[in-house]
């Protein structure tokens, strides 16, 4: 299996999300079509005027350079794709390099040098894995990646968290005007306030907003909001964090989570799939211990 190495890049794609920038390049121009649907909406020219609203404050860091190397053709059918998506990718760390070595792809990230290499079949899955590992590490000092759907209105955002099956995608589907992503979102503390970014997973559209609230989703017979204390919120949200793959970064991420629940109201939201859930979702919950619906 010969790899199409990226010598002179035939294709490149500058991306921005989560307050970070990534410069993808490949010798194989077919990556453009492979990545367009998921990552195309997050393409941002790296002109300063366009990046100002996206980059983390004070972040003069250069983009993370990501080299894509084609080692095989894309899976030809859904079972083959499902196998690729389900492949275990154990994480190993050596020096400043983090590596994911899956059976059919290899991902290496050097965060110190801000560069990465993805060698694998012509499919977005290995790149998805790169971002799922790299983003929590890049954000560890001041933010987190959480499993949640981000819904926005009027420059404010509500992060609706929960495990698979809790209703993230359902909620996004009944509130398409507000939904910006429905699986993973990033939050970062900026000058004492918390901002939320949509991420490309799944069906993401770019958004960065002030984080107004966090909702822990569950299906219910009726819409109901129950505020949580910071301690309850910390315990519940620990299950929704995409924890950094490096142990030492975990403490920073937990500190970020503790700061997040102290600053942003967190409530449990029971809902049935109808658009009027928005009125409850975006309401300011009474403090814990007071009226709870």
């Amino acid at each position: 299996m010969s790899a199409r190495a990226a010598g002179a890049a035939a294709w490149s794609l500058p991306l921005a999300f989560g307050g970070e920038r990534f410069a993808l390049r490949a010798a194989d121009p077919r990556w453009q079509a492979v990545l367009a649907a998921r990552y195309g909406p997050f393409a941002v020219p790296f002109a300063p005027a366009r990046c100002r609203g996206e980059a983390a404050p004070g972040s003069a860091a250069p983009p993370v350079a990501v080299e894509l190397v084609t080692t095989a053709e894309a899976p030809r059918d859904w079972p083959a794709l499902e196998r690729l998506l389900a492949e275990p990718a154990p994480v190993a760390c050596r020096g400043s390099e983090v590596r994911l070595a899956a059976p059919s792809y290899d991902v290496r990230v050097d965060l110190g040098r801000r560069r990465a290499r993805v060698a694998g079949p012509l499919h977005r899955a290995p790149l998805d894995q790169l971002f799922r590992v790299a983003l929590p590490l890049l954000l560890a000092a001041d933010g987190l990646v959480l499993h949640g759907a981000l819904l926005v209105a009027g420059g404010r955002g509500w992060l609706c968290c929960g495990p698979s099956g809790c209703g993230k995608s359902t909620l996004a589907s009944v509130l398409p005007a507000q939904a910006r992503c429905d699986e993973l979102a990033a939050v970062r503390r900026q000058a004492g306030r918390w901002a939320a970014w949509s991420l490309p997973y799944w069906h993401g559209r770019p958004a960065v907003v002030e984080l107004a609230g966090i909702r822990l989703l569950r299906h219910g017979e009726r819409h109901q909001l129950r505020p949580l204390t910071p301690a309850e919120a910390l315990r519940a949200l620990c299950h929704e964090v995409q924890w950094p793959a490096v142990a030492a970064a975990t403490d920073l991420a937990l500190a970020s989570l503790a700061a997040l629940v102290a600053a942003v109201p967190v409530a449990e939201l029971a809902f049935r799939p109808s658009a009027d859930v928005w009125d409850v979702l975006a309401a300011d919950p009474a403090p814990p211990g007071e009226a709870g619906s």
Binding site: A37, W78, L81, E82, L85, A86, P90, V91, A92, C93, G95, S96, V98, L111, G112, R114, D128, R132, L137, L138, A141, H147, P163, S164, S169, A172, S173, P176, A179, D182, E183, Y201, W202, H203, R205, T229, P230, A231, L234, R235, C238, H239, Q242, W243, P244, A245, V246, A247, A248, A249, T250, D251, L252, A253, L254, A255, L257, A258, V261, A262
Partner: protein, 173 residues
């Protein structure tokens, strides 16, 4: 990061330390400890949290009890924390070290640390002698209270549905 442990017949008082792969944070009355190696989340009593904090510096049970004069049943708490893998027995001759939790902000600070899934030693609960430190029959109440709750973190899975299968209108062409 490899942890070594004394042989069962090693003499002298055992020195304990907080396991170095943990993250923990106190929020109001609750202390949450995250063990990503085992993917377990713990909620500790305030006494257990005090013990864990103190064990940033390795010390033996007697010294620990002296420093935590207001905490009852220190040895039972240590035993319960050790059984849960939150406290380790130091290898003989280990010098007290600074708190191993901190990390320099930024990616450069990651260099010296292990990736979470890499197993590198036995959990304290399987070590020779760990069970000898188990709480005695006279201390069940204190021991039971050290860890208030524990929860297994689910393995992270991502949606595997085929593209466009979710039916979210925002992604339709």
């Amino acid at each position: 990061m490899t942890t070594t442990h004394p042989r069962p017949d090693a003499g002298g008082p055992r020195t304990y330390r907080r396991a170095t792969h943990l993250a923990w944070r106190r929020v109001v009355e609750e202390t949450v400890v995250l063990d990503l190696r085992a993917r377990v989340l713990f909620g500790l009593s305030s006494d257990a949290a005090a013990v864990l904090a103190e064990l940033a510096r390795p010390q033996d049970a007697a010294e620990l009890a002296r420093r935590l004069a207001g905490v009852a049943e220190v040895s039972a708490i240590v035993a319960e924390l050790a059984a849960a893998g939150l406290v380790e027995v130091c290898p003989e001759g280990t010098a007290p070290s600074a708190d191993g939790f901190g990390m320099a902000a930024g990616p450069a600070g990651l260099a010296a640390h292990d990736a979470v899934p890499v197993a590198d030693g036995e959990p304290a609960s399987t070590l020779p002698g760990a069970d000898r430190a188990a709480p005695g029959a006279s201390e069940p109440a204190a021991a039971a209270a050290a860890i208030r709750w524990r929860e297994q973190l689910a393995e992270v899975t991502h949606q595997f549905s085929p593209p466009m299968a979710i039916g979210n209108p925002q992604c339709l062409p």
